[in-house]
Amino acid sequence: MFTPDRSKYPKHVNGRPEIDLSSGKYTKVWHGPQHPGITGNMALEITLCGDEVVESITHVGYLHRGFEKLMERRTFIQCFPIVCRIAVPEPAFNEYCFSAALEELSDIEIPEQAQWLRTFNLELMRLSSFLMWIGGMAGALGQGTIGQWCVTHRDYVADLFEEMTGGRIYHMYMLPGGVRAPLPPGFKERAFKVFDGIEKMLDAVDKVLYNNYVFKQRTQGLGIITRDMIERYGVVGPNARACGVKRDVRLDEPYVKYDELDFDYVTANASDAYARAVCRFEETLQSIDLCRQVLNKMPKDGPFHTKTPNVMNWKVAPGETYAKAECTRGEYGFYMVTDGSDKPRRVHARGPSMTHAICLMEQLAINTNVSDIAGLMVSIHTYPPEVER
């Protein structure tokens, strides 16, 4: 293994390296915002010593659409088409948290069937997002073919979303009061077929990626998240579970119908990029299992939406709440404040990416070989739009 000459490394003053670029010892490179290994519109400003990273600063600002501010100027129902955009690959968690928060503040109980449909939608969302991630992770380490497989099957999941919600990417399905539509006839059979296909594909991925000497070599020992980082940086989701931490909102504080499903924490112990990849792989299979469980358990039909006040004149009494759910990357939440008017006073979307992509990544990058930065970045699974709400 490569061992750098640490004598050339910068001194740390007040916790930050002292870098004199004119010394000729360092090179600054921008990794992103166009780099495919950067998981979207973010940039890492990396200072290298040789090919080892001595400092990494995460830059955002390429994707700021001001959702939180927009929502303060929109009526509650008008916020509904906005929220899904806060995390492009996982709109469902935004829809769910927004609706759940509003329902809580307005004392609305959603019907049983709506809860099942929401559970299914959320879990299918996790499945879709994990597939994308597996493909991305493989791609970041040079295995683009696996990326194609995963995205293909993710498209079949998008077909299911399209049937269920009317949209492939932005579903706009879970809205205050429940969901917008019941499942179309024959949906369950088609969904099961898609799941079978994914399982078959994942079996191939297991062989080609997870039992691959190169992949293991490059990811084992990469980006080890230490115990003390977990609390300090608020590490959640598979990033935390791959360190042996049992933390999963679905199990810790079950919402919708998760308390009626049979599943457990997926954990690993190595705390490195490989362990995270394994956790996510297991969770992808778990998602398929949960989706099947939901479709098998949920009633055939029933009301899927509860009447809300006329959305054109919906005012919500003053209050505040925080609604959360487990997205693929950990705890996702909406903090909502209402002031009695027809618009939210403040909405704050809390996604795991903020802490993971900035605080955690800046730490993990140090002492990493520059060629592993893309793999490292993908291994912590972040979505820039949720950093820039």
Partner: protein, 602 residues
């Protein structure tokens, strides 16, 4: 290094033999799913141009635009949504809130144009598109209600008890009910056009949502000085065009009006409205203190005229007091409104019947202008043999007696036949019920064709009035008992005339019945009494079908003389009389203070 980790990845070769997953577009295309949110389609005939879609669209992708072939009518703005696909995000909220369900999305998601000038803003249903007839695509699913289609019911005295007294039957909304009902409105404003007085309904409903009753009262008084009356007994034409009424119950506009004004105590109107009345030195005489007269007086006061109302009876309200029974229209509510007019400086001369106590000529000489709204006081006859029988009573008289001496039976006995199908007939039935009579209603046509308000019909039936429809009175015969009378009537068959048109009831000669009653009350309509017009005024006054001819500002053929109310408009209801009074006030102002105005005869 495990050997497996080196060999295993070669599994990838197996996949090389799989069929491709992609479609070879354009050879192979894929349709959007049944629920797909693609381009819009709109059923232009169903759409009423309410603009709710425009209001909900957070992208401001919708503009309501006039389109060829769609006219503005009382129940249709004539506008249709135009979608800017540069802005639309296909959320379909516009579909979910479409009040008529005319709007939907199709499953078409692609549109190409090789013409760089072709607009990407379409008016669905007007700009013909290939997807117009696609059956598939997103529609509002049954069970998803983002609008509130169900009306808040108003509590009332149950039918078992309602006939035991003249106490107001409907209790009015509670604060919670009123707010919930007010929240149902989508602010389309179609009702404004339909209301004869063009009341600003969405704004006063908003005032209820905001809990600002003073503002609400100001909005009411801007077009209607009798909101407590209209909030109870208005014919509520506005509700017939309410866009929420297309898929659900129309918003209870009338009850909401009542709710606002009920929140203001009788003595507090002056403070709440905070009006200042100027004085322009001119004076106007008004004949008749019914809604038409009261409204003219109020708006003339606002314009600075000194106004005096000459009223033959001892109290104000006209038919609202002497016709409409107290269980529908409590007298203290009429007093509340009239007293406020007194506070506005309107002078009342009661017990002064023009033609008897004072002459029209005197008023024409003494005042700068005269307005009259004397209502319809002469009941129509039945036009059948024997109707002069003393036990055949006029409905107006019975109702008048019930107002003047409510504790006495107005000479109707205990079994009553009421003839007619309008509101007056319903009132006669229900008043008779309150004097413990057994009541039978006879009407020539079917229930669906009755001119009476459907609520009235429902409540009459609820109170136990026996309805005989397609029943034509043939003649009246004396009964053995001189205090009784016989009604001979025949069953009718509805026959559609050969040239089409409305089916007419035709008497079936072989189906004639005779029933005996203590009295027969005729309530088939009434006409105006213009006897106080004498001399040159009688000659100059122009009438048609018994109504006074006037211009659009209610000026009659005699320049100084203005008219309004039942004798001037075909609707013959309170709100039309009120609208006439308001218009006449503007007309009088144009006539007296704007000498250059071309619309008025000078």
């Amino acid at each position: 290094m495990k050997l497996k980790d080196v060999i295993s990845p070669f599994y990838v070769w197996k996949r090389a033999f799989e069929k491709p997953y992609t479609n070879t577009n354009p050879l192979e295309t894929r349709d959007g799913s049944a629920n797909y949110r693609g381009f819009h389609a709109n059923d232009i005939e169903m759409c009423i141009g309410c603009g709710t879609c425009e209001a909900v669209c957070q992208n401001a992708a919708i503009d309501m635009v006039p389109v060829e072939g769609v006219d503005t009518t009382m129940s249709d703005s004539g506008l249709r949504p135009k979608i800017d696909y540069g802005r639309c995000c296909w959320c379909a909220l516009c579909v979910d809130v479409c009040t008529t369900a005319s709007l939907r999305l199709t499953n078409e998601y692609t549109w190409f144009s090789s013409d760089k000038d072709e607009d990407f803003r379409f008016i669905p249903g007007i700009d013909k598109k290939s997807w117009d007839d696609n059956e598939l695509g997103y529609r509002r699913h049954e069970g998803l209600e983002l609008l509130d289609y169900k009306r808040q019911a108003m509590d009332h005295i149950p039918f078992e008890d309602s006939t035991k007294s003249f106490i107001e039957m409907f209790h009015g909304y509670s604060a919670k009910q009123a707010k919930l009902e007010a929240e149902r409105c989508v602010d389309c404003g179609l009702c404004i056009a339909k209301c004869p007085a063009h009341m600003d309904i969405p704004e006063y409903i908003k005032a209820i949502r905001d809990g600002d009753f003073e503002l609400g009262a100001k909005i009411l008084y801007a077009t209607n000085p009798m909101p407590a009356t209209c909030g109870r007994i208005c014919t509520h034409l506005c509700e017939t065009v309410c866009s929420i009424g297309v898929q659900g119950d129309p918003v209870a506009i009338r009850w909401l009006k009542r709710y606002i004004i009920d929140q203001i105590e009788p003595g507090d109107l002056k403070d709440a409205l905070g009006e200042i009345f100027p004085d322009n030195g001119k004076k106007v005489a008004i004949i008749g203190a019914g809604p038409g007269g009261l409204s003219a007086a109020y708006y003339l006061r606002q314009l600075g005229y000194s106004t005096t109302i000459y009223e033959g009876r001892e109290a104000a309200g006209g038919m609202i007091r002497y016709g409409v029974p107290e269980y529908r229209m409590p007298y203290d509510q009429i007093d509340k409104e009239t007293n406020y007019l007194k506070e506005c400086g309107v002078e009342f001369k009661f017990n002064t019947y023009v033609g008897r106590d004072i002459q029209l000529e005197n008023l024409m000489d003494d005042y700068d202008a005269v307005y009259f709204s004397v209502g319809l006081t002469i009941p129509y006859g039945l036009g059948i043999e024997g109707e002069e029988h003393p036990r055949v009573l006029s409905g107006l008289q019975v109702l008048d007696d019930a107002t003047e001496r409510v504790e006495e039976n107005p000479n109707i006995g205990k079994s009553v036949a009421v003839i007619g199908g309008g509101n007056v007939a319903m009132d006669c039935c229900r008043v008779s019920k309150r004097y413990d009579a057994d009541v039978h209603l006879y009407y020539r046509r079917r229930i669906s064709e009755m001119p009476a308000d459907s609520d009235e019909i429902h409540e009459s039936q609820g109170e136990g009035v026996v309805f005989h429809t397609q029943a034509i009175p043939v003649r009246v015969e004396p009964a053995d008992n001189p205090n009784q009378v016989k009604l001979v009537w025949g069953e009718a068959e509805m026959v559609t005339p050969k040239d089409g048109g409305r089916p007419r009831p035709v008497l079936q000669e072989d189906k004639i019945h005779t029933d005996t009653f203590d009295c027969i009350i005729k309530a088939i309509g009434q006409e105006g009494n213009y006897e106080f017009f004498t001399g040159e005024y009688k000659e100059k006054l122009e009438t048609k079908w018994g109504k006074i001819i006037h211009n659009e500002y209610m000026q009659t053929s005699i320049p100084k003389l203005f008219v309004g109310g039942d004798i001037a408009n075909p609707q013959a209801d309170a709100i039309s009389a009120i609208a006439d009074g308001h218009l006449a006030a503007k007309g009088i102002d144009l006539f007296l203070l704007h000498p250059d105005d071309k619309q008025m005869k000078k």
